[in-house]
């Protein structure tokens, strides 16, 4: 492989959102005919980068270069016109339109008269699909296809464009092993046609199979890049994870308390199967896994959000059924959702009203609002969590992400729960507030609560948890005790490499 020049480069790219620095002066180079793997944890900035590269977001600072010239991608259409396409795990396609129309959406083939030339599109679609070994009927409506087949359509779409840069964002998450092999073929074909490919994945076996180069991001910043054949997997993991894991996390050493929650054979028709575990007072149990492993779905089921769930639940040794969030809350199980702004708080409500909302009946037993009682309750918990706000009537939408999260946690604490489930509790939060949340988690355990933490940040999970459960594709892959924590083993269990169940 001769030393080629980069065809697509990002230099000094920063992207700021209110309260969060998603990207901090990162750089990335993509070379024609080569696959560059972008490696990093959740929250490292990978998906933000993809959005910048495809014109969905505009960078706060920095430049993009295509073929040596500066380019501005103000809209996704600009990116597409320049030959930059992306295939996401949940690619945005039109599920009521046909395969052919999806492939040619935005650049439909016309007759000279202006009439759409369906025949030509169907023919060409078939040709491209055949090339990538996906024998699909171009007339079929997209919603009738499986996820793997939809991916094929997305790839065919990329090929129909004469794309210069192809971004593959977790493309194999829903593919079977056979389909993944087919996928590698496609990638190799793209390479020979001269495309520069950005490959984002957590699966190291795939990275080492098809990537030529790598770039590592961490916490929104660039760490390193280089050639794949000059590096080892363990080095990649170290760069991904960064700082040494031991001292950064405030972990109180506690005696394991009594069993609080017992979950047996929890199953859902499509989201997870046969999940069993138990939880003790004073324990922090971490749930790790790849995006889409089913962890959030499991937690939502425990919280009573999901229907069609089977299995047994025991709280303090009493069997219970939970069919709604209210039943869960009454039982003492509370849930801090991953999507803080759309599920966790009511942005338009003041802090006091947010904190009081789950307990209206308790604060106001006769049904009438009592602003004082509510304010007092809010003050107690907001202070305890050190929420920074001018007063407790401030609207939550005016707070920073970290403080919003504190309000959510505070609202649940006020209900005196037995079990608190935190789903990605420090996602999108600045370092200072992250530390505060971790501090607080330790305090919770000292107070006798049991904590379940779903997290995709390995250092966080290894730093805070007493035990780690790794989920993969809806199944419980492995359990790790604190003494046997090892970044490599945990990541392997999550990706299903060495030793994991098929």
């Amino acid at each position: 492989m001769s030393e080629a020049k980069a065809i697509f480069s990002l230099e000094g790219i920063s992207k700021h959102f209110p309260g969060v620095k998603a990207l901090d002066e990162v750089k990335l180079d993509l070379y024609p005919g080569q696959v560059t793997a972008l490696v990093g944890e959740n929250g490292a900035g990978k998906s933000t980068l993809v959005k910048v590269m495809t014109g969905i977001h505009q960078p706060t600072a920095g430049c993009l270069y295509l073929d040596g010239k500066v380019v501005h991608l103000s809209t996704p259409d600009d990116a597409r016109k320049l030959g930059i396409t992306a295939i996401h795990q949940e690619t945005v396609l039109f599920d009521e339109l046909s395969v052919a129309e999806n492939i040619f959406a935005g650049h439909l083939i016309l007759h000279p008269s202006g009439r759409l030339n369906w025949k030509a599109m169907e023919l060409e679609a078939s040709r491209i699909l055949k090339e990538i070994d996906a024998p699909l009927d171009p007339k079929k409506i997209l919603k009738e296809l499986s996820i793997g087949q939809r991916h094929m359509v997305a790839i065919a779409r990329a090929l129909s464009f004469d794309a210069k840069v192809v971004i593959l964002d977790e493309p194999t998450a829903a593919l079977s092993h056979r389909e993944i092999d087919d996928f590698y073929q496609i990638v190799r074909r793209l390479k020979t046609s001269g495309c520069a490919i950005l490959f984002i994945s957590h699966k190291f076996d795939e990275i080492f199979t098809i990537a030529d180069r790598f770039t590592v991001f961490r916490d929104g910043g660039y760490v390193a890049d280089g050639k794949i054949n000059e590096i080892e997997e363990s080095e990649l993991i170290t760069m991904m994870v960064g700082r040494s894991i031991e001292n950064a996390y405030p972990k109180s050493e506690l005696e394991k308390g009594v069993k609080v929650l017992e979950v047996q054979n929890f199953s859902h028709p499509t989201e997870f199967s046969d999940i069993s575990f138990d939880l003790h007072q004073g324990e922090i149990v971490g749930f790790y896994g790849l995006v889409g492993a089913g962890r959030t779905e499991l937690m939502q089921a425990l919280f009573g959000v999901t229907r069609h769930v089977t299995g047994q639940l025991k709280l303090d040794d009493y069997p219970i059924t939970i069919k709604s969030p209210k039943q869960a809350i009454d039982a003492g199980i509370v849930y801090v959702p991953e999507e803080r702004q759309s599920q966790g708080v009511i942005l338009n409500f003041p802090i006091s009203q947010n904190i009081g909302l789950p307990q209206l009946k308790k604060i106001n037993p006769n049904g009438f609002l009592n602003d004082n009682a509510e304010y007092y309750l809010a003050e107690k918990y907001a202070k305890r969590l050190q929420v920074k706000a001018p007063n407790w009537n401030e609207k939550v939408e005016n707070l920073s992400g970290g403080n919003q999260q504190k309000v959510v946690i505070g609202k649940w604490l006020a209900t005196h729960p037995k079990v608190i489930i935190l789903d990605e509790p420090t996602k999108g939060i600045d370092i200072g507030s992250k530390a505060a949340v971790h501090e607080f988690m330790s305090e919770l355990t000292t107070a006798g609560l049991a904590v379940i933490m779903v997290s995709s940040e390995l250092p966080e999970v290894m730093g805070m948890a007493d035990r780690i459960f790794v989920m993969r594709e809806g199944l419980m892959a492995q359990e790790f005790q604190r003494a046997e924590f090892s970044a490599e083993k945990i990541v392997s269990a999550a990706t299903g490499l060495s030793g994991g169940q098929q």
Partner: protein
């Protein structure tokens, strides 16, 4: 075969055939060719308006003002004809189409540029347009003897057994079919309704598509207004009062989803025919026309309930077995 049976258009067609046959068993005159042509002719206006409404609903909007549009444009057209009988009818029809289109564009602009929800816009314009009919006519009626002979004659002229009114709807069906299926603008409308995000990613302005669909709906209302006035030979404030509900019912039965993004010309036409057959059968069977409103209301509800059951989604598919099951089902 099973897949075909699940197909909404197929189901509707069979349903209509069964209805016709059942009625024909008791009233054989109903199934005569002449009568069937007459039923189709009767349903023509509904078909034309339903096709316009279909485009609006596909873009995730709704047009409650379409009947008021017909009334207002119709009154204008009738007034012009009775005041200037020397003007060629074709010109008058053009003017009608233009005014109808303008009224539709007003709806479209309010939705697109001011971002007002279409339900609010059309609830408002429904009353505004209808009120304007009164302002224009001062409550007076325009009767047949005030309209020129040509004005009244054109839709009634029979060609190959079917009056021109019926041919009009056939032409509209063909044009809309071409537009929806074979023209870029039509495909953009479907795309923007199906997934506004994906449409944005390929450079489609969703609001503009809504504007276009309202304009077309208005244009068709303008054409329909001439046909209505001429066919019923009268123009007054209350014409087509409540007709918008029949139009929406026709779309909904025809499989046009309120969620947007889906709907076929064939389905729409069949939906309109379904209602048309029922409306024509009522007097034959001896049921009072007072049943019409309840029937279209129940039809909307039944169709929408049926739609919702088929659109139900099961959670995310994560388990490998579930992924494979889904893949098998898709094959």
């Amino acid at each position: 075969m099973k897949a075909l049976l699940k197909n909404r258009e197929y189901q509707l067609a069979i349903l209509i055939l069964i209805m016709i046959l059942l009625i024909g068993l008791i009233f054989p005159d109903f199934v005569s060719i002449g009568n069937l042509f007459s039923v189709y002719n009767d349903t023509s206006i509904l078909i034309i308006l339903a096709l316009g409404q279909m485009l609006v609903i596909i873009t995730r909007s709704i047009d409650l003002s379409v009947a008021a549009n017909v009334a207002l444009t119709g009154m204008v057209v009738a007034t012009i004809n009775s005041t200037y009988p020397e003007l060629p009818v074709v010109l008058v029809i053009f003017i009608g189409a233009g005014i109808g289109m303008l009224l539709g564009m007003i709806n479209g602009l309010l939705v697109w540029k001011l971002k007002i929800p279409s339900i609010v816009v059309t609830l408002g314009t429904m009353s505004i347009y209808r009120g304007c009919v009164f302002l224009l006519s001062d409550g007076a009626w325009i009767n047949a003897h005030q309209m020129t002979e040509n004005f009244l004659k054109i839709p009634r002229t029979v060609f190959l057994g079917l009056p021109l009114l019926g041919w009009c709807s056939i032409i509209v069906i063909a044009v809309i079919y071409y537009f929806a299926r074979h023209h870029t603008m039509g495909r953009k409308i479907y795309a923007s309704g199906n997934s506004p995000t994906a449409a944005y990613y390929i450079g489609i302005d969703v609001g503009k598509q809504q504007f276009i669909s309202f304009t077309i709906s208005g244009l068709l209302a303008g054409i329909a207004s001439y046909l209505w006035i001429s066919r019923y030979a009268v123009a007054y404030t209350d014409i087509a009062n409540g007709f918008e509900l029949q139009v929406i019912a026709a779309c909904v039965i025809g499989g046009v989803s309120i969620a947007g993004g889906t709907g076929t010309v064939l389905g729409c036409v069949l939906g309109a025919l379904f209602l048309g057959v029922i409306n024509n059968a009522l007097p034959v069977i001896g049921i009072s026309p007072f049943w019409q409103m309840a029937i279209s209301g129940s039809v909307i509800i039944i169709a929408v309930v049926a739609n919702s059951r088929s659109e139900r989604k099961l959670g995310r598919i994560i388990l490998r077995q579930a992924v494979q099951d889904a893949a098998l089902k898709a094959r």
